[in-house]
């Protein structure tokens, strides 16, 4: 992401199921199938011309070729405010040079 110049993102460690084979674990006489796997979920807000490079970066780095690699959803955003400056929309998601 950072190599693709995407500098604003939020990462969540989540559990999910994406059709992958379930893990089997054994604890003494108890055998369990783990239906949920550890996943990461990224929330990224970008301006329009950054959408394509961002998605490409995710597709390239998250790809293993097996079931359960994950999905990318691209959604429209109604309104954005940057809390620090009060900037709106395009200006609010444009990175600023660090002082």
């Amino acid at each position: 992401m950072f190599r693709a110049d995407v500098r604003g993102l939020t990462l969540h460690r989540v559990e999910g199921h994406g059709g992958e084979t379930e893990r089997v674990e054994t604890y003494r006489g108890t055998t369990v199938k783990m239906k949920l796997s550890e996943k990461v979920r990224l929330d990224i807000g970008v301006s329009d011309h950054f959408v394509e490079p961002t998605v490409r970066a995710i597709l390239a780095s998250a790809h293993t070729g097996s079931v359960g690699d994950g999905k990318v959803f691209v959604l429209p955003v109604e309104k954005v405010y940057r809390i620090r400056t009060g900037e709106e929309d395009q200006a609010a998601v444009t990175p600023v040079a660090q002082p």
């Binding site: 674990e25 054994t26 604890y27 003494r28 006489g29 108890t30 369990v32």
Partner: protein, 429 residues
Amino acid sequence: MDRADTAWLLVATALVLLMTPALGFFYGGLVRSKNALNTMMMSVSALGFVGVAWALAGYALAFAPGGAFAGDLGRALLSGVGLEPQGSVPHLLFMAFQGTFAIITAALISGAIVERMRFGPYLAFLVLWSLAVYAPVAHWVWGGGFLAKLGALDFAGGTVVHINAGAAALVAAVVLGPRKDFARQAMLPHNVPFTLLGAGLLWFGWFGFNGGSALASNASAALAFVNTMFAPMATLVVWTLLDLRRTGRATAVGAATAIVVGLVAITPAAGYVSPLSAILLGGVAAFPSYFALLWRARTRLDDSLDVVAAHGLGGTVGALLTGVLAQKAWNGTADGLLFGNPRQLLVQALSVLAVAAYSGLATFGLLKLVGAVAPLRVGAREEGLGLDVTQHGEEAYTRGEGAILVLHPDESVEGLGLPETAPAEGGSG
């Protein structure tokens, strides 16, 4: 009085005491996180409650001269237990060393009844059990009681500690009944590293348990010490191979269990068998416990942490094999079946049966007695919330989010697990 013996027994006493918090880690890692503190407290509290009961009356019932069944109360309140020699060590130290055994034996039972027993009745049961079951059984075998007179061999407590606790655990699991989620939901160990840590510390402490049971700093202690090292190693090897054969994977919970099973099995034999016999004994002991664990999980018996399979069965295998593998050339006391003394095996079998029967019956009576005064089990809602919050008012892994400081807790409504209804006073000061 021997200064070397005294020094070794001082160290051994501390080592055995460490085994009880270690057991807390072993058990604590195997339960769900909402019951972690309750499970560990079941061991930790034994240090206090059983320890004090031991000093006040337990030691007298176990080791005062008395009848075939129990000691008399001549040594109650530690009267006559001072600095004079008992064997080659101060009497007081002998009493303390034996006290650490009483503590861990009582704590072992808790593994069968975790995640569902109310804490108050548990403490009451623990104290009563240590006095009415542990102390007399210790007297039978070590205090000059009838099994000692028969010539039963129990170096460090295969029958007194492990079969005793195993039989009590079986009965306790039946009387308490299974957890509400048992065989309905997957209940996984919440911290396997804790369990491995506990197993490691148990092994370390067990050198004092078995090595110290020679009650001297001598060749017998060295034999017991070395056997305590090699028997669990053999169990670990066999257990790992069984795991690999069954699932293709060597499990960590299995390794921790194997160590404990090996330690349990060598306990009665530690100072009586050759090191090579110890390796054989440790390896053989893996089989019954391994398959009992698998079988138990498919039954309705919720011996939650498999005390019966690990301690009851491991102790039985150890006690019987002591009767087979004991070697006068190594212990100077008695031979087993393999060395021309088949009677020893019979005596061992008799002591196993006597201890298991008495422990089981007495445990049933004590639980019914405590249960008649107060309910033994928590309610279904409390069981769902977890015993840490409902029994102790604490959480093992609290995140502290949303916690508001109560400045005058005494004035607030008491009620475990209930929402706070008193007005928050945080802003007034």
